[in-house]
Amino acid sequence: MGSASSLCWGRAPRQGKAKNMNFYTKFCAMLSKISLILAVIGLLAVVLCVQWQVIGRYVLNDTPTWAEALALLLVLFVTAFGLAVGVRDAGHIGLESLVVLLPEKWQHRIEILIHGLVGLFGALMVHGGWLWMMAKWNEKKPMMPVPDGIDYLPLVIAGVLIVLFSIEHIIALLRGQVVEPAWN
């Protein structure tokens, strides 16, 4: 069941496993696992926030005005960590049927190019996110005692992780290895 649903997200499973995991792969695997744990904690907290809002409105007759704002902020972090892990586990949906028509050697080159482009977008996320975060750091977020710029922090985090994971993929491709999901 698990393998079936991961199949649909990812590319076709290939032979060959990373035997001698190098330091960088270990580091990325650990980052990916930590990211996913943080995402899970965040997701559970989002559920609790929204339920607390319901309780506040009905039981306390005093709607917690911060609950929605906090849930929205947390969901950005869940998304950031989740999408970065998705990049590492090759989880983002793409079209691949046309590349299959090319000779093997070119398929390999194009796969490297794809990870390079994904990494490039990650770098742009870091840049754009940082710019907005700084521009809006002095504005207060409504309903919460935090800067408005914090909305863009998840973008920076996700961007950094995407760059790291894309590099990992490129190295693995060059060595003829496959990046294994750290936690499934």
């Binding site: 559920v47 339920q51 999408l83 989880g91 079209l95 691949e96 590349v99």
Partner: protein
């Protein structure tokens, strides 16, 4: 000029296999550079797109679906469906349709549906002597119903894609999906029966009696109640759609962990992790599509498309037909969420001008997207079905026609007979 950059770079990136969300993102960056505007706007639209309160319902529905997938709700639903129709000709096919429809209703996404029911039913059907292509087609087509049965996170995505064009309530959309979902299910049952008779599949066993049916129903009821909770929650005014979705999560966890006692700690963690990854994938797509939408608004793509279509015909039925064809073609290449987010702002205004209600348009859109999930080159539901059935996409095409025609008939009915979608929401919300 900027529009050419947008279209060309997006198509090129997509063709070489860059994931859809990143293709949209990089194409947006290229376009904004061509337009001479600050690149930072792309990232503003991205975060803005992820940050609308109603979007919280998406992670919740995804999470509830994963909990049900890993918590043993699917098996009970299959048992109930089997007791009901297992004895007729092609019985396992029929129970597969019913099981998929019910589970699709609670779990919200065709993909979760085909994974959950398919992994139980497809091997079982093969063991009982059904051909693999039949087993896969029955499952994958029945799973599509999950996209329009309440609860569906794709409906939430649609309501958000409509903002700025018309205000569509989640409730109306949920209600509008019910009758077409039943219609689709009947069509699926008909197709399953037709192929079973044509191929001479055997009947198996006898009707177990209503007592057994009720017992099996009772066992699957707590799982099925999720839909009821959400509908009653919103209808009674107790909760918003988002709050209802969060309560569905709590309920799914309660049922699987406390009532059924089928949720292990390991499965729970897996469900959580899967939900986070899917949330990341879906919300990235939503966020980045918001940037794409910004360009389409800036360069007035919806108006241009509308004028182009009006220059071809001024007959509503021709316009609706063109919209269907275009949605179908785009849907075969793109994922459901991407199709909804990109196509709604383009086609909904023109559909409305020719008298289609936004809610009806939503259902037309969802059925088209669902069809795309079972159509090459990118049919994610079809991929999963084939993987479970151990056959290729080419093999599955052998018996796809009856199922496909059934879906096509439904699509035409929903497009040209407003009552199929609009009767129930008008009855309840007016």
């Amino acid at each position: 000029m900027e529009l050419t950059v947008l279209a060309l770079s997006f198509t090129l990136l997509l063709i070489i296999g860059v994931p859809v969300a990143f293709s949209i993102g990089l194409a947006s960056v290229a376009t904004i550079l061509a337009a001479g505007l600050p690149v930072a706007v792309v990232f503003q639209k991205m975060v803005g797109g992820m940050q609308i309160f109603s979007f919280l319902a998406i992670p919740f529905f995804v999470f509830a679906g994963e909990l049900m997938l890993y918590g043993g709700i699917a098996e009970r639903i299959v048992r109930f469906a089997n007791s009901l129709v297992g004895h007729v000709r092609g019985g396992l096919g029929m129970s597969n349709v019913i099981g998929c429809t019910l589970f699709g209703g609670v779990a919200g996404s065709p993909l979760a549906d085909v994974s959950a029911i398919g992994s139980v039913m497809i091997p079982l059907m093969k063991k009982e002597g059904y051909d693999a292509d039949y087993a896969v087609n029955v499952t994958t087509h029945a799973a599509l119903v999950g996209a329009i049965m309440p609860t569906s996170h794709n409906m939430i995505i649609f309501t958000l894609a409509t903002s700025g064009i018309a205000s569509v309530s989640v409730l109306s959309l949920i209600l509008a999906g019910l009758v077409p979902a039943i219609l689709l299910t009947l069509c699926n049952l008909g197709a399953a029966y037709y192929v079973a008779v044509k191929r001479g599949y055997p009947t198996r066993g006898a009707f177990p009696g209503w007592g057994e049916v009720m017992r099996a129903f009772g066992a699957s009821l707590p799982g099925l109640l999720v839909v009821v909770i959400i509908l009653v929650g919103i209808l009674s005014g107790a909760f918003t759609a988002t709050e209802s979705a969060s309560i569905a999560v709590a309920w799914a966890l309660f049922i699987t962990a406390v009532v059924y006692r089928t949720m292990s700690w390991k499965n729970f963690m897996t469900a959580c992790a899967k939900a986070c990854k899917t949330t990341g994938v879906v919300l990235l797509l939503i966020g980045i599509s918001n940037a794409f939408g910004y360009f389409m608004a800036l360069y007035e793509v919806p108006q241009l498309t509308g004028e182009l279509m009006k220059s071809i015909s001024s007959e509503p039925w021709v316009i609706f037909f063109m919209i269907n064809v275009l949605l179908f073609i785009l849907g075969t290449f793109l994922d459901m969420a991407a199709t909804i987010l990109i196509c709604t702002p383009i086609f909904m205004p023109i559909a409305m001008q020719f008298g289609m209600d936004p809610v009806q348009f939503g259902i037309v859109m969802l059925i088209n997207c669902a069809l795309g999930l079972n159509t090459p080159p990118v049919g994610s539901v079809q991929f999963v079905g084939c993987a479970i059935g151990g056959i290729s996409v080419g093999q599955v095409m052998r018996s796809i026609l009856p199922f496909y025609s059934a879906l096509g008939i439904c699509l035409l009915l929903v497009t040209y007979v407003p009552a199929f979608s609009m009767w129930l929401p008008n009855l309840i919300t007016k």
